[in-house]
Amino acid sequence: MIMGRKLEDMHPVREEFVRPCNGGSETWWLIGCALLTLTICSLSIGVRKANVQSQSLHSWQLNAFRDLRAEERGTYSALYTAAIEIDDTHQNGDGEWLEVSDMEQDFVPPFVHDAAWRRQGKLVWQRKLLPAGTLDMALYLGEPQQKEISGSFLLVMQHSHGNGSGHAAPSTHPSHEIWYSPSPHPRLPASYTDQALITSGWKEVVPLRGRDEIMRTKGENVS
């Protein structure tokens, strides 16, 4: 192509070398991004102030998992579940609180006399209703026949019609509480406010949730 050559000679030729695309720069960009991400992450981990909020129990409270014996923990867990059932029946039924004998017949632990019941100190349960005209409350008192195995439990069911006044716990008040006394024949106070129970030697049993347990194992201790 003589013509073409001539043309090429007449013009200033800018020469360009086609660069092979071998992804070299992409590799470096990728490594760079990965390192940057790692750096940012490790920095922010270090900088982040762990939100230490130790849920401290009051002197009149017990940790359900740490402060109870194994048998008592069993009773407590059963009671915790039964309380939900009792509350449910009360709200959906005609306002009656379940009888101990009914629950015994319906195989509801810890009221049913099964193997676990025998292992856990054979608690004798009784229901106490508060006199009419006062708060809509029911108490379930369980006293052990074997005092070397278990203490006494008191399930306080309260239907929150209004404000649950006279309670020491500042947080939102649950519709039921579980109290514990080491005595096999504990004293029951005249009124069932937290304060009255506390002065009678009862302690409220507080469960730990999964989150609490995570915090405990991480060293953010729940005292």
Partner: protein, 241 residues
């Protein structure tokens, strides 16, 4: 005609170009030059590495060796791909497609005022001006090929690279393309084209290069395209690395 007499496309020099992909040797020791302002055809068997060589030129492959482009008056490359991975159900008209190719802004924003006449002109050059509102996915193979060709003309290229543009074109389409390429050549555009129709190559190419992993031959069609050589290349025994 308003052909600027001083316009001239680039020369291209392939020097010991090799290409390995995934441990396979695709090209090795390819050496040839493309003269400025000519129509240069690349032929060779399927899988011979023609498309790969073109993509090396476009800087899309990790080739070895040297590819030099000696630019003339401009440095615009137009590229007409062999095929397009394209979802046929995509609701996109020919005009949308052109808008997507020519502009930096998203195609759904429509075709910019500035580009309207340019796209119009390009579609007219390939005889597709009446079908700009057709769904791109519904075009026939030949029609799609024409639109791809039109797309390669925007902006006005100094080097036009075409990968088997004749595939799927009917007689009318082939003749439109031939005229178009002849016109571009007259304007000084360098045209590098992969082609499989040897009769066409003999007809319009200024020079021809045969690639089958290695360079098989390169030169003027009248000299190189002898029956023996062609038989040799397109028979089963391929080249070696």
């Amino acid at each position: 005609m308003t052909v600027p007499t001083n316009a001239m496309g680039p020369a291209i020099h392939f020097e010991r170009v090799g290409l390995q992909l995934g441990g396979n040797c695709i090209l090795s020791n390819v050496d040839f030059s493309v003269e400025p302002g000519t129509i240069h055809c690349i032929i060779g068997p399927n899988g011979g590495g023609k498309s790969s060589l073109v993509r090396c030129l476009l800087g899309q492959m990790p080739h070895t060796g040297t590819i030099r482009i000696g630019w003339g008056t401009g440095n615009v490359i137009g590229y007409v791909p062999q095929s397009l991975d394209f979802d046929r159900t995509l609701p996109m008209t020919v005009k949308d497609f052109m808008a997507m190719i020519c502009q930096n802004r998203p195609a759904f924003c429509g075709l910019g005022r500035k580009y309207g006449p340019i796209v119009e002109h390009a579609l007219k050059m390939v005889g597709m001006e009446g079908k700009r509102q057709r769904p791109f996915g519904a075009l026939s193979g030949g029609e799609r090929q024409r639109v791809l060709l039109a797309q390669g003309l925007i902006p006005k290229p100094d080097l036009l690279v075409l990968d088997e543009p004749g595939t799927g074109l009917d007689k009318a389409g082939a003749s439109i393309m031939r005229d178009l390429l002849a016109d571009l050549k007259e304007r000084g555009v360098t045209i590098l084209m992969i082609h499989h129709d040897l009769a066409e190559v003999r007809d319009m190419a200024d020079s021809v290069t045969c690639i089958n992993r290695n360079l098989v031959f390169s030169g003027e069609p009248e000299v190189e395209l002898t029956p023996e050589k062609i038989l040799n290349v397109f028979s089963p025994a391929g080249g070696t690395c």
